[in-house]
């Protein structure tokens, strides 16, 4: 679950990490008034759940209340990647002496938490990582042992020169680590982190992602969730216990299991088709899930044909067949439906469907060829 910058900033302040003064503003008039109150230059920042907003014109500096109002109006009209700008943050501008990168995330390869520091702040850190990896200093953390202070000081000292800076940054990284662990994050990032000309340390931007698997431990996070992170179909699917991702094509897919679902999309492409979605109905055999899945896919008007690909393990093919029959009685399926059933109770499942006039395939490639031909 991703947070907006303004939400991350609030969380930073809760943990004692300093940020510039910010206000979430909702009208050009408010932009004017807030800038006037601040009596400084201000930065107007689009709040979107994606990177690259600076390049897209989503961050602008204004040196007067009138300019703040104008920049607000410009930014509010933007669409950054697929996200229309609906929230805008106004921040007091600061006198930056130098920018850095501070981040904590999961290190899959080393089965650890990794803390990263770089003097190349304010730019795309993934680019730094791929082009000049030696500019990023890392510390691997075993959560059973926690953040070891000597090692932390060592890695901070390789980026910051003055002792007073090292002491300040070590404190901030301890606060970030506490935030990371206590909130079950998968990413906490400050980029840029800056030293001001007056010697202060400030988080100028913030990115926080919570581990979706850990949300059950943090019921209070519900109110921070941002539905715009997902498409409306993705939200509907999630409510029905389905795993769903919207894609650009025109062949709707219902598959059991994430790996088989991904492979099904690939094979549709291999045979010249274009999938409309990823959908994993999961391991249960609840016929209602098939009904919900069909409803969601049919609500996408681009869909020209639907492929149901089931390899029964825990999922029983006869239950899936019943779900398809119930769905076909309750909703009008105007596009061709191609079904492939194999595995647990497939004979019964195929018979149920054939009796109702459905054509059912055994081999995945045959079913895919068919759906591409009719779609």
């Amino acid at each position: 679950m991703k947070l907006y910058e303004y939400q991350a900033m609030e969380l930073f302040r809760d943990y004692g990490i300093n940020t510039p003064e910010t206000v979430l503003i909702e009208s050009p008039q408010e932009a004017f008034n807030t800038a006037k109150n601040f009596k400084t230059k201000v930065v107007i920042k689009a709040q979107v759940l994606t990177g690259g907003r600076g390049k897209a014109g989503g961050i602008k500096v204004a040196d007067s209340p009138l300019a703040a109002q104008e920049k607000y109006e410009e930014i509010s009209k933007l669409k950054i990647k697929t996200f229309p700008v609906e929230k805008i943050l106004l921040a007091k501008a600061v006198d930056i002496a130098k920018e850095y990168y501070l981040g904590i995330t999961i290190d899959r390869a080393n089965k650890a938490i990794v803390l990263m520091i770089s003097a190349s702040g304010g730019v795309d850190i993934e680019e730094v990582a791929s082009q000049t990896p030696d500019k990023i200093f890392k510390l691997s953390i075993n959560p059973l042992k926690g953040l070891e202070q000597k090692a932390l000081e060592g890695v901070v000292s390789s980026v910051f020169e003055e002792r007073s800076q090292v002491v300040q940054v070590v404190k901030i990284l301890n606060k970030m680590y506490k935030l990371f662990i206590e909130n079950d994050c998968s990413l906490v990032e400050i980029n840029p982190f800056c030293l001001t000309k007056s010697g202060d340390c400030l988080a100028l931007d913030g990115k926080v992602i919570f581990d979706d698997n850990a949300l059950f431990k943090h019921p209070d996070k519900e109110e921070l969730s941002n539905p715009e992170e997902y498409s409306s179909d993705e939200i509907k699917a999630r409510e029905s216990g389905l795993s769903f991702v919207s894609l650009d094509g025109d062949i709707g897919c219902i598959v059991n299991g994430a790996g088989l679902a991904m492979a099904t999309l690939d094979i549709i492409k291999l045979f010249g088709g274009d999938p409309a979605n990823f959908l994993d109905v999961g391991g249960s055999s609840n016929p209602n899930k098939v009904l919900k899945a069909l409803e969601i896919i049919l609500s996408n008007k681009k869909v020209k044909a639907i492929l149901i690909n089931i390899f029964g393990g825990i999922t029983r093919c006869d239950d899936i067949a019943k779900g398809i029959i119930i769905a076909s009685e309750q909703i009008e399926i105007k596009v061709p439906l191609v079904i492939r059933l194999i595995g647990t109770n497939d004979t019964q499942g195929r018979k149920l469907l054939k009796d109702k006039g459905f054509e059912v395939y055994e081999a995945m490639s045959e079913a895919v060829k068919k759906v591409v031909a009719v779609g």
Binding site: I106, V245, L260, D266, F311, G313, G343
Partner: protein, 289 residues
């Protein structure tokens, strides 16, 4: 031979009185797995499919001498179950549960490593050595004993591949689902090493997917260490950047972890990469002849 599980594997089911645990306990017993009991705290003394239920892993281990456990408890309690199995000294812990918080999994991983034990999963279908022992949720009927070792991050995609092998008369030595999460207990490299050393295994199928760099590392390892033929299939070629494709670990982030990069790495290590699961048996046959 086979790897990790065989006729001598004595299995306990953690969460045996639950809906999934009891269903799969029965299915494992029917397959012929040496299921010696199960654990559900507070339900000791009951029986599930004629298997004894114990209150704790320590008690179950001392009374049954089990060397393997399989976990079906919900995500909220799964880390406690993994740690309990490890504290009891269970050598092979298989965790089927999906949805364990990632920081907890990092802790579990290091805890198990300190004790010198092995974890398979989580978020996996388990493992099977056909006709010897099934520890997990896969349909036993699609497997047949033979010479192909299978390692996969997926569940149903593994069934698809195994089914294609079996109908083409290519049996399996052992099939392992390593799990679809970011942090899993046992990875490709350890299992490739075991299959290379296993006399029954003549060739290996590696099924990967988008996310992380494990397939790339496996490719490097195969190049220098594996002499047996390896055929790979990677799913997620059409997956968009930044979207989680069902599995917690199946995500392309910052341009890393694409199927294309994995396929390229495997091919340049000399691994044959199949573009579809039903082509794998033919490629294997060509390599084995």
């Amino acid at each position: 031979m086979s790897i990790l599980v065989d006729e001598k594997t004595k299995v306990l089911v953690q969460g045996i009185t639950g809906r999934d645990g009891s269903f799969h306990a029965k299915s494992m017993l029917e397959y012929g797995t040496d299921l010696v009991g199960g654990v559900t705290p507070g339900k000791g003394g009951q029986k599930v499919s004629d298997s004894m239920v114990f209150d704790s892993m320590a008690e179950a281990k001392s009374k049954t001498n089990a060397n393997c456990s399989v976990i079906y408890v919900p995500a909220k309690f799964a880390s406690a179950a993994i740690k309990e199995a490890a504290s009891a000294g269970i050598e092979l812990i298989v965790c089927i549960t999906e949805g364990i918080p990632v920081i907890e999994m990092i802790e579990n991983y290091h805890y198990i490593k300190q004790k010198g034990l092995r974890l398979i999963g989580p978020n996996c279908p388990g493992l099977i050595s056909p006709d010897k022992s099934k520890v997990g949720i896969m349909p036993g009927s699609i497997h047949k004993p033979g010479e192909i070792g299978v390692i996969s991050r997926s569940g149903t995609l593994t069934y698809e591949v195994v089914y294609n092998l079996t109908v083409n008369n290519m049996g399996q030595s052992t099939c392992i689902g390593i799990g679809g999460d970011q942090i899993v207990g046992t990875g490709y490299i350890e299992l490739l090493t075991m299959f290379e050393a296993d006399s029954q295994t003549k060739a290996i199928v590696l099924i990967g997917e988008i996310g992380g760099q494990e397939e790339e590392r496996a490719a490097d390892f195969i190049k220098n260490n594996i002499k047996k033929p390896v055929v790979a299939f990677i799913s997620g070629q059409s997956a968009p950047q930044g979207k989680r494709m069902g599995h917690a670990g199946a995500i392309i982030s910052g341009g890393k972890g694409t199927a294309q990069a994995k396929i390229k790495a495997l091919q340049s290590a000399g691994v044959a990469v199949s573009m579809s699961p039903d082509q794998i048996p033919k490629i294997l046959k060509d390599l084995l002849n």
